[in-house]
């Protein structure tokens, strides 16, 4: 898109269509509201899909929006680590679709989408029904790549949980931790990039350390990593030392941290150079790929993820299919719920613009990932992203991590803000409430 065109377009817009801001209320553009044309189907009712459906309706209430999601209730991965640490209940991280249905008029279909025909513009559901679309939004999240790690298949995941999709897997891991004797060893194996939630494994061991320090203080945590560097590394390591002493040991790639084989029955992990680690509870965070429907729709490439056009997140491979969230290749944006939500808002606006024959807006996306190391110890990383020279880039001078030398009050505030963030993003995504104001 050349900037001359952008200038002219913006000028025209300003002259002709400046809205009365104060009167606009929740509907962003009265110009769009009147139109009805357009059927949009969303697949996936998680952070990306639910947000996209809601914002499509906000921008253009006349749109016909259907959201396909098999589960009636969605368990968020965000704060599922806090459940493992004993700082939240499962009932506090589950969200339904009633408000999206009732207030926004989104048709929510509790089915699994089996296939997409990009030519015919249809989605086939598990019950055999076929949904036609003008525009399709896929936000299927991740699937575990069971081919990616020797010995780790679906049966193995019942013994060595990944808990990288929240719900039963998270409960299984928690019950194993509860059953473990004091003095036992918990091992987490972390994958190479890219994967869902770069700080996730490190927040998880922090939370498990919190649980151990309260209930099983003689236990140990070993983190085997397929990387030499990880998100918020300095801050995490400072926090671990400060709060948990030497309970957590991290072994990076160059110290033979990469796990290449697992034996679910003996709970053994074998490293690249042949070392065997046996744990009493073993949490394998395995390699991942875009959710299966993205492969079916033909939008993934050889990497297993979805290349998208930066301005709109329309697939580079199939027209009229937009993909947001973890399934995409959006680096430097991380695979976070925050980004899935941000991408969905931008993409909803792009779809509405396109259906109305207008150019997409200039996208801006933000991210803030909080990690809760202990009830009064939070850290964060933030970023602002734009399309620069045809690529998604982080804006220079913006973003970054919490200061390394911050005081206890700062860390406490960031832990509180993590809760506030959770309560806000679930409202923005599902129109539901986070149930608790504080962590303690």
């Amino acid at each position: 898109m050349d900037s001359i065109k952008m200038n002219r377009r913006k000028l025209l817009k300003l002259l002709g269509a400046g809205g009365a801001l104060a009167a606009a209320g929740p509907l962003a553009s009265p110009a769009f509201a009147a139109r009805t044309a357009g059927r949009v189907v969303g697949v996936g009712g998680g952070f990306g899909g639910a947000t996209a459906a809601k914002y499509l309706k906000r921008l253009q209430p006349g749109l016909d929006v259907t959201l396909v999601e098999p589960a009636r209730e969605f368990y968020t991965c965000p704060f599922s680590n806090l459940y493992l640490g004993g700082m939240r209940q499962m009932e506090q991280i589950v969200h339904g679709y009633d408000t999206l249905k009732n207030r926004y008029g989104i048709k929510v279909v509790h089915q699994y989408a089996e296939d997409v025909d990009g030519e015919a513009h249809t989605v086939r559901l598990a019950n055999g029904e076929t949904l036609p679309y003008d525009k399709l939004v896929l936000s299927p999240g991740i699937d575990i790549d069971f081919e990616g790690l020797e010995g780790y298949d679906e049966a193995a995941a019942e013994k060595l949980p990944h808990a990288w999709k929240a719900g039963d897997q998270t409960r299984l891991l928690r019950s194993q931790l509860e059953a473990m004797d004091d003095g036992g060893t918990f091992i987490l194996s972390a994958p190479d990039n890219p994967f869902r939630c770069p700080p996730g494994p490190y927040e998880r061991v922090s939370q498990i350390a919190h649980y151990f320090s309260q209930h099983k203080p003689r236990s140990k945590i070993l983190l085997l990593d397929a990387k030499d560097a990880f998100s918020k590394q300095g801050l995490f390591m400072d926090g671990w030392r400060e709060v948990y002493g030497d309970m957590i040991e991290w072994v990076g790639l160059s110290d033979d941290g990469r796990v290449v084989r697992v034996d679910a029955d003996s709970r053994e992990l074998e490293s690249e150079f042949g070392e065997i680690h046996r744990g009493d509870v073993v949490n394998v965070v395995p390699p991942q790929k875009a959710g299966a429907i993205a492969h079916r729709a033909g939008v993934t490439n050889g990497s297993g993820w979805v290349p998208v056009k930066p301005h709109t997140f329309e697939s580079q491979q199939v027209d009229d299919i937009y993909v947001v969230g973890d399934a995409t290749i959006a680096a430097p944006m991380p695979k976070s719920g925050f980004c899935a939500n941000a991408q969905a808002r931008v993409t909803a606006a792009a779809i509405v613009a396109e259906l109305n024959g207008q150019d997409p807006l200039d996208p801006v996306w933000t991210n803030t990932c909080y990690s809760v190391i202990a009830p009064e110890y939070g850290i964060s990383v933030a970023g602002v992203y734009r399309v620069i020279d045809g690529e998604i880039r982080e804006v220079e001078g913006s973003g970054g991590v919490s200061p390394r030398d911050a005081d206890a009050a700062f860390r406490r505030r960031e832990a509180e803000y993590a809760v506030q963030w959770y309560n806000a993003i679930v409202q923005d995504t599902w129109e539901t409430r986070g149930l608790q104001k504080t962590l303690t």
Binding site: S3, M6, N7, K10, K13, L14, G16, A17, G18, G19, A20, L21, A22, A24, G25, P26, A28, S29, A31, Y55, F338, N341, A342, R345, A349, L361, D362, P363, V364, W365, T366, T368, S380, A382, G383, V384, R386, I388, D389, R393, V395, E396, G397, S398, G399, G400, S402, F410, E414, E416, Y417, V419, Q420, W421, N423, A424, Q427, D428, E431, K437
Partner: protein
């Protein structure tokens, strides 16, 4: 299409929209739609239209002048004790922050909180 533009918006249109990253653009007005997209980047922490109240300072429907002054102060890293708003505000031009302040100040409907 026949709406009258508030004074703020006219003032806004004259402001330079400087994109970061060396790619300086000519002066550009910020459209209403663009302003609402910019403001929507606040919603993940402050709720839809900034209407979620809790540990963060409320932002929906606050006076334009104070919102704008606060955002600019964050951008210049002049607010003691800030945790993340300085890191985020640094990703926007002053004109964009004005547009965000303008959008949020116009949110008067609190029924859905």
């Amino acid at each position: 299409m026949t709406r009258i533009m508030p004074r703020h918006v006219i003032g806004l249109s004259a402001a330079a929209l400087l994109l970061f990253g060396g790619q300086a653009m000519a002066e550009e007005p910020i459209s209403y739609e663009q302003a609402s997209l910019l403001a929507s980047t606040c919603f993940a922490c402050h709720g839809t239209d900034g209407r979620k109240e809790g540990n963060f300072a409320p932002i929906a429907g606050r006076p334009y002048e104070s919102l704008n002054a606060q955002l600019i102060a964050f951008r210049n890293d002049q607010v003691p004790g800030t945790t993340v708003m300085n890191r985020l505000a640094a990703g926007y031009s002053e004109a964009e922050l004005e547009a965000i302040a303008l959008y949020l100040s116009g949110i008067t409907d609190r029924r859905r909180d």
